[in-house]
């Protein structure tokens, strides 16, 4: 009892104390409500504008109608309200707080042409305005991503950001995309940028869970083929994307940023009543360009099928025959393209609900996407759910949570690099076989005598499927313990499990064992194939930043930032495979011969810390310096920790008093310069620096083999230094604006497995061996030729010019042997991945040297060095000596450019985007194959006698014959929309008709010069070997808001 009383007493004391305290505060502070409407130049409300009371922590964000409301405890006096948001110039408005409890502050914001006041979040915890940046960072907004009839975020980014070359490597429904920011930045590892979604480092790997056959090496022979995992991100959830092109901008990401950074921010809820957004669309996909095929009525030599079949008659001298056959056999010609291609249908549906109160904001969305490929029996499907929740706990603490679940699955066909893919099964046969013919038992027949796979087997019988289940989660907290000091923390997790299955039923006819056939005898131990591959990936990253901001005096302000980050990732890859399939069993358990399984496990960890100091003088001069130290487990213990520096500055001449007073036609003039360094955390594999023996089962015993590569165990990360100088200008009340960036990047300590003399016992040495550079410039020109209330016309031109050069790779020439036959080389003084090979002999006038039959000749003579040769001629004037080689093509474009026109007239909107890639070569392997087997147009000429018999045989080994002009201008995106505005119970309703990859202006002899059969490979670029062409897509969409 006494105890109770005592306790009671102290409790009462406490309550009393609190009451007194509250009373005291109430004397000074009053609870007030500030509200209003933010409108744009057209008088309509603007969503997502941040409104804050200057020098306090009170703030709000406008809702869909532009309305905001702030509840704040303020002492009477004069305050400033700051308004800022993406795409608009920031504005401040003062307000006098007196005795009233409610205040109104409306404001109209002007369009910000150069986005100088846009808040950039990348690399800083609080965000900074573009004005302050010393380097170029581009921002792409949601509405720019959704007009192009695509549901892949990388596809949607094509042509939207300066300095980026985004290539769709093939037309499979789940795609495969490569992004190069300011050129190729490494040789050995991936040159794809670092992707961050809401603070989570997301994995963009290409995992080989299908196309698991051992011939697919994932290295410099075949390349890195398949889907890359950014396909899991739903563009409809994206609010905006920030792209950092190089080390100068991205130095704050240290060891992870060598290839640049792409940071994706998803949508968040806004204050106000729930808003429901719904959109749906149907897509139609089809082949943009069909190739013409051989229509000659005859072939050379004997029959096409059966016991005495003789195919590849254009390049084969039968054993015992003195030369090519000249007798002919009548044939029926087919166009197999009509069989393998289809018109694919698709649908894309998104629904989201967002809203919130002062303290709690939410965004939840669900999406279903399905699209058929243009190759029969292929498709892709994606379910995606996302929830973003922001909760303010009190004045100094807020937390946020983001959760994204994705289920991504696709029905595939084997990748083009094999002759059992849909494209190559057709390319590799003459178009004179009746592939649909079946025997009395319904079995398909052999195609010729060479053990080729019948395309009908590929389309109808092969089953190849993959599926990914993925969760991306971010948890964050922001603390504002005192004025000017902020801590923020993000924990990110990216976790997925990816499974792929393949089933190739036993063939009923002779198929080469290399294509998983059973050969002539239909060997039951070899006939057919099944596999199941699994990749399990887990990644966790932490980012902790502290920022302290204070004003040194009236003119000079300081921001200091200290941060720590850590990242750990774990990968488990396993593969079961077998051949010699039992009938009807589609799993590996049906295999009579179990092939070598794979069981790879790896762990990587990276951590680092940085300090960044920023000073600003008035609103004119900004200077930033930073230092970062990083360590990665993949590198040698003594070289593991590296320090990277960054310094940048910008000067807004147009903010000076002189300029403001005197120059009214030139509204913005900023000059900037930045220098930064970065490294590459995954420059080598988790264990690449160890020299180990790998095990294989061989003849029922364990065989151990040393690697062909000898590694320097003390290898260190590559280091990139980038200098960027640029300017931003706007004229005529921001109607016209220009951004120009010049940059020079150099990568030193370049990691490479250089070839070494095999007499050392090894074929290559992995070490920090060389250097490469990228130099170039980017121009971004935007203008509004018409800007009226009902008629707005905006034009954007992006021009990128990059020159890549290998400075040193340890030897003068490294020539790679590749699956497609492309002679890909690393040559000092030349861009990465040039084609270096044999070429046509020409005379002094540049005309081809031909023999008496009129057949061009391969150049021969003396090869003095990799880059120097002396042609020789024999008495007949024909080339003699050893076969000569030179650089015959370059897959790196001279320039890329994009022209976008956006026109809105009353309720109509029109968006037209043209993309150009110019001065580039493609190694068109399929072109030669089509002539060799006789389905191409050169073959038709030879069949018809329009060119000499033996022409194709004569030029077949000349690699230059396969180098094709890859330059193109593409009508990338067209979108016509009609906005009904408020309509019945809809707050907003719009319909759109859009198209993607509609036309291409090019001289390419294949389907589409935008292709890479090397997939996402860094070195193998511009190779066309059986890849599915990129479809033309039309989409009809409806978007509604409730």
């Amino acid at each position: 009892m006494r105890k109770f009383q005592q306790m009671g007493q102290s409790k009462w004391k406490n309550i009393f104390f609190v009451l007194i305290l509250q009373l005291c505060t109430l004397i000074g502070l009053a609870q007030v409500r500030i509200s209003g409407k933010v409108t744009g130049p057209d008088g309509r409300g603007i969503v997502s504008i941040s409104v804050s009371v200057h020098n306090t922590t009170y703030g709000a964000v406008t809702d869909a109608d532009g309305m905001y409301a702030i509840q704040a405890n303020l002492r009477p006096g004069s305050y400033t309200i700051d308004f800022s948001g993406v795409g608009f110039k920031s504005r401040s408005q003062s307000i006098q707080i007196g005795n009233a409890t409610s205040y109104t502050s409306d404001v109209q914001l002007a369009i910000d042409a150069l986005n100088m006041d846009e808040v950039i979040l990348t690399g800083v915890s609080l965000g900074t305005t573009r004005k302050q940046l010393g380097s170029y960072i581009s921002t792409v907004k949601a509405d720019q991503l959704t007009k192009g009839a695509t549901s892949n975020v990388l596809s949607a980014l094509q042509g939207k950001t300066a300095g980026a070359q985004i290539i769709q490597n093939n037309g499979d429904p789940a795609g495969g995309f490569s992004v190069r920011l300011r050129g190729v930045n490494t040789i050995l590892s991936s040159s794809e940028p670092l992707y961050i979604v809401d603070g989570v480092v997301v994995n963009n790997a290409t995992n080989r869970v299908t196309n698991t056959q051992s011939s697919y090496d994932g290295s410099t022979f075949v390349g890195t083929v398949g889907q890359n995992r950014l396909a899991d991100i739903n563009p409809a959830d994206i609010d905006h994307i920030e792209v950092l092109n190089g080390a100068a901008a991205a130095a704050i990401y240290g060891s992870r940023a060598n290839a640049g950074v792409i940071q994706i921010f998803t949508k968040k809820g806004a204050n106000g009543a729930p808003v429901v957004n719904f959109s749906t669309g149907i897509m139609v996909n089809h082949l943009r360009k069909k190739l013409k095929v051989n229509e000659a009525p005859t072939k050379f030599g004997g029959p096409t099928d059966g016991l005495t079949a003789f195919t590849q008659d254009l390049i084969t001298i039968p054993p015992g025959s003195p030369g090519l056959l000249t007798n002919t056999t009548p044939v029926t010609r087919y166009d197999y393209q009509d069989y393998i291609f289809q018109t694919g249908l698709g649908t894309d549906n998104n629904v989201s609900v967002s809203g919130g109160t002062d303290k709690t904001k939410y965004y939840v969305s669900g999406s279903y996407f399905y699209n058929q490929g243009i190759v029969k029996n292929t498709d892709a499907q994606r379910y995606s759910f996302r929830a973003n929740i922001d909760q303010t706990l009190n004045k100094w603490l807020s937390v946020n949570l983001g959760l994204n679940y994705i289920n991504n699955s696709s029905n595939e066909k084997p990748d083009g690099n094999s002759f059992f893919s849909p494209m190559n099964s057709v390319t590799i046969i003459g178009n004179f076989h009746n592939i649909w013919q079946r025997d009395a038992l319904g079995n398909l027949q052999a195609v010729g005598e060479r053990g080729r796979v019948n395309p009908v087997s590929v389309i109808e019988d092969f089953k190849q499927r993959e599926e990914t289940n993925r969760v991306i989660a971010n948890l964050g907290a922001k603390l504002k313990p005192m004025k000017g000091l902020t801590f923020d923390y993000t924990l990110g997790i990216d976790n997925y499990a990816q499974n792929g299955t393949t089933y190739m039923p036993p063939y009923a006819y002779n198929v080469n064992t290399a294509f998983f056939g059973g050969g002539v005898s239909l060997d039951p131990t070899q006939n057919g194939y099944a596999s199941t591959g699994n990749d399990y990936f887990f990644q966790i990253n932490h980012e902790l930043n502290g920022t302290y901001q204070f004003n040194i005096n009236h003119d000079i302000a300081s921001i200091t930032q200290l941060g720590y980050s850590a990242q750990y990732e774990k990968n488990r890859y396993s593969l079961l495979q077998g051949r010699g399939m039992a009938p009807f069993v589609q799993t590996v358990t049906g295999a009579s011969t179990l092939l070598a399984p794979t069981d790879d496990r790896s762990e990587i960890s990276v951590s680092g810390e940085y300090l960044q100091q920023n000073f600003k003088y008035k609103n004119q001069l900004f200077i930033t310096g930073a230092v970062r130290r990083d360590g990665s487990s993949v590198f040698g213990e003594n070289e593991r920790n590296q320090v990277y520096y960054k310094v940048s500055g910008s000067y807004l001449i147009s903010e000076t008093k002189f300029w403001k007073d005197k120059v009214d036609w030139w509204n913005t003039f900023k000059i900037r310069a930045a220098y930064g360094q970065s490294g590459n955390l995954t420059g080598i594999g988790a264990y690449s620096r160890f020299n180990t023996y790998t095990s294989n089962s061989y003849l029922s015993r364990t065989a151990l083999n040393s690697s062909s590569t000898l590694a320097n165990t003390n290898v260190k990360p590559e280091r990139q230094g980038e200098l960027e100088i640029g300017t931003d200008m706007s004229f005529l009340k921001d109607r016209l604006s220009l951004t120009f960036n010049w940059y020079s990047k150099k990568v030193t300590d370049l990691l490479y497995s250089r070839t070494i003399a095999p007499t050392t016992g090894f074929s290559s040495l992995l070490d920090n061996l060389g250097s490469l550079q990228n130099k170039g410039f980017e121009i971004l020109l935007t203008g509004s030729p018409v800007s009226k209330k009902d008629f707005q016309w905006d034009v954007t031109l992006i021009y990128n010019h990059n020159r890549n050069k290998v400075l040193d790779v340890g030897s003068a020439l490294i020539l790679l042997s590749t699956n497609a036959g492309a002679p890909v080389a690393l040559l000092q003084g030349y861009p990465v991945g040039v084609f270096y090979g044999t070429f046509f002999a020409v005379d002094g006038n540049g005309n081809q040297v031909k023999n008496t039959s009129g057949i061009p000749q391969i150049e021969k003579g003396i090869q003095n060095s990799a880059l120097s040769y002396t042609p020789q001629r024999d008495n007949n004037g024909l080339p003699t000596g050893t076969t000569l080689r030179k650089v015959i093509g370059d897959p790196n474009p001279k320039y890329t450019a994009t022209l976008t026109n956006d026109i809105s007239y009353k309720k109509f909107g029109l968006h037209v985007q043209l993309d150009a890639v110019q001065g580039v070569n493609v190694f068109n392997a399929d072109f030669r194959t089509r002539q060799g087997v006789g389905n191409g147009l050169v073959a038709q000429q030879e069949d018809l006698g329009q060119i000499p018999r033996g022409y194709i045989l004569g030029v077949y080994q000349i690699e230059q014959w396969r180098v094709d002009d890859g330059s193109f201008v593409k009508l990338r995106e067209v979108s016509l929309s009609y906005d009904l505005g408020k309509f019945k119970f809809f707050k907003d309703l719009s319909v759109s008709f859009s198209g993607r990859n509609l036309f291409s202006w090019d001289n390419y002899k294949g389907y589409d010069p935008e292709v890479n059969s090397g997939g996402q490979s860094t070195i193998l670029r511009g190779i066309d070997f059986g890849s599915v062409p990129i479809p033309r897509i039309f989409k009809l969409g409806i978007a509604a808001k409730f």
Binding site: I315, P319, G320, W396, E449, R450, L479, P481, F487, Y489, L491, N512, T513, A514, G519, V520, H542, L544, Y564, A566, Q567, Y568, G580, T593, D599, S602, S607, G631, S632, S633, A686, Y687, N691, T692, Y693, T694, S695, S697, Y698, L699, R701, A703, L704, N705, S706, T755, A757, P758, T759, T760, G761, S763, S811, A812, L813, T880, T882, T883, L953, Q957
Partner: protein
């Protein structure tokens, strides 16, 4: 306010703890591979590397076996290319200046041979430290077979061969290469004579190879190539003519000639079923049973013999080779013994398929002399080409028997660019 700071400190600390919890360690061990130290300190590890030598020599299109058979077959017109899309093979068929340092088959044979020598050296050195000497002699002998084969392959195709492995190695004449291969075999035979190979070792390696017979057979072959005729004869006598010694295959690891040549009908093929690429005058008798053994006209690649099926074992040496070595040694020795030479040759000519452990047998009537030395050598050459068809030895035979360059696509191979570009001691390329 104070409370707030305590709270902040608490939250901050827990956040920092969470951060540091994840990634302090940066030393991970690769569970899927073994280090040098682990491998060479245990009998199991050494055995695994030794089996790895056989794998490098025989597994797939990248193997020494595939490259040796095809380089030799195409340069000597035993074989032909069916699809010139196979660039490396096609260059060899064109021969001359078309074969250069980029040739993938030549570079492959060069690289795998040197790899085998490098790892065999490690196994032989590691075996010396084992206490179980019977196991050690098995390791040394088994690894020596592949090391000798690798040195022999280099000597068969290149004018000069590397003197061991290492940085900027020097080159020696290829005949010295054969003598080095013989020295490797002698070292193995010495080890076996000191301590017989233990049963435990034999249980740990794949079945197929008879180690002792193979060592003698290879020594006989290289002695003949090096011109040591009496040694060749002694060793040929020491190699059993009835016990098989083979590289075996499974349905997982296929016979590489079947895998790439026979089953595809699209890479290379036997040139025909009648001449085997031999010039008029040396062509096989149409009733020679060996034609049916080695070739078929049922499918385009025409390959039968030791490339007939998925798991057809590949002989390391043939009994016929040993007999023909003796015949040639009699015919070439300081004082030629043409009578015994013909007697040995006739053992091969009259051999029936049933009496040969592999079924290779001409089953023809005996040759009746008298022959001059030159005539007899021609007959020995002819029978080597037929008896040892597609074994990879013919280019060496053509040089030894003085066949004209017009019968060959090349006499010797150019050195791979990868060697030339990285080793300043690489000799100049032969002109043909």
């Amino acid at each position: 306010m104070k409370k707030q700071f305590i709270k902040i400190a608490f939250y901050g600390l827990s956040a920092i703890m969470l951060v540091f919890h994840t990634s302090c360690t940066k030393n991970y061990v690769n569970p899927t591979a073994a280090t040098d130290q682990q491998v060479f300190s245990s009998p199991q590890g050494l055995t695994g590397v030794a089996i790895g030598l056989q794998r490098t020599y025989t597994a797939s299109r990248a193997s020494s076996l595939y490259n040796r058979v095809n380089i030799n077959g195409l340069l000597t017109s035993e074989m032909i290319v069916l699809n010139q899309g196979n660039t490396g093979e096609y260059q060899l068929q064109l021969g001359g200046g078309s074969v250069d340092g980029t040739n993938t088959l030549a570079a492959g044979l060069w690289t795998s041979s040197n790899k085998i020598i490098y790892d065999a050296n490690n196994v032989i050195a590691g075996a010396q430290n084992l206490s179980d000497k019977g196991y050690a002699s098995g390791l040394i002998a088994y690894a020596s077979i592949f090391k000798a084969l690798a040195i022999g392959d280099l000597s068969m195709f290149w004018q000069k061969v590397p003197d061991g492995v290492g940085i900027n190695v020097n080159f020696i004449d290829r005949i010295q290469g054969y003598n080095n291969a013989i020295a490797v075999i002698d070292n193995a035979l010495t080890a076996i004579n000191a301590n017989a190979i233990s049963a435990a070792f034999l249980a740990n390696i794949p079945a197929g190879i008879n180690i002792v017979n193979t060592l003698h057979a290879l020594k006989a072959r290289f002695s003949l190539f090096a011109g040591s005729y009496s040694q060749a004869m002694t060793e040929a006598n020491a190699a059993s003519l009835s016990i098989k010694s083979t590289f075996n295959f499974t349905t997982v690891n296929l016979n590489p000639i079947f895998e790439t040549v026979t089953s595809t009908n699209n890479v290379t093929a036997a040139i025909d079923t009648t001449t085997l690429g031999l010039p008029a005058g040396l062509q096989p008798d149409p009733s020679d049973n060996r034609l049916k053994f080695y070739t078929t006209s049922v499918y385009n690649s025409k390959v039968l013999g030791f490339g007939a099926g998925t798991i057809t074992p590949w002989p390391v040496y043939l009994p016929g080779e040993m007999i023909l070595i003796k015949a040639e040694a009699y015919a070439r020795q300081g004082t030629p013994d043409l009578t015994n030479a013909l007697a040995q040759l006739n053992l091969v000519v009259t051999k029936t398929p049933a009496s040969d452990p592999y079924g290779v047998g001409a089953n023809l009537p005996a040759l009746v002399g008298p022959y001059t030395q030159a005539q007899l050598l021609d007959q020995i050459y002819k029978n080597r080409c037929i008896e040892l068809y597609m074994s990879g030895l013919k280019l060496e035979d053509m040089r030894r028997f003085g066949r004209p360059d017009s019968e060959k696509k090349r006499n010797l191979l150019p050195y791979p660019f990868q060697e030339r570009d990285n080793n300043p001691n690489t000799p100049p390329d032969p002109t043909f």
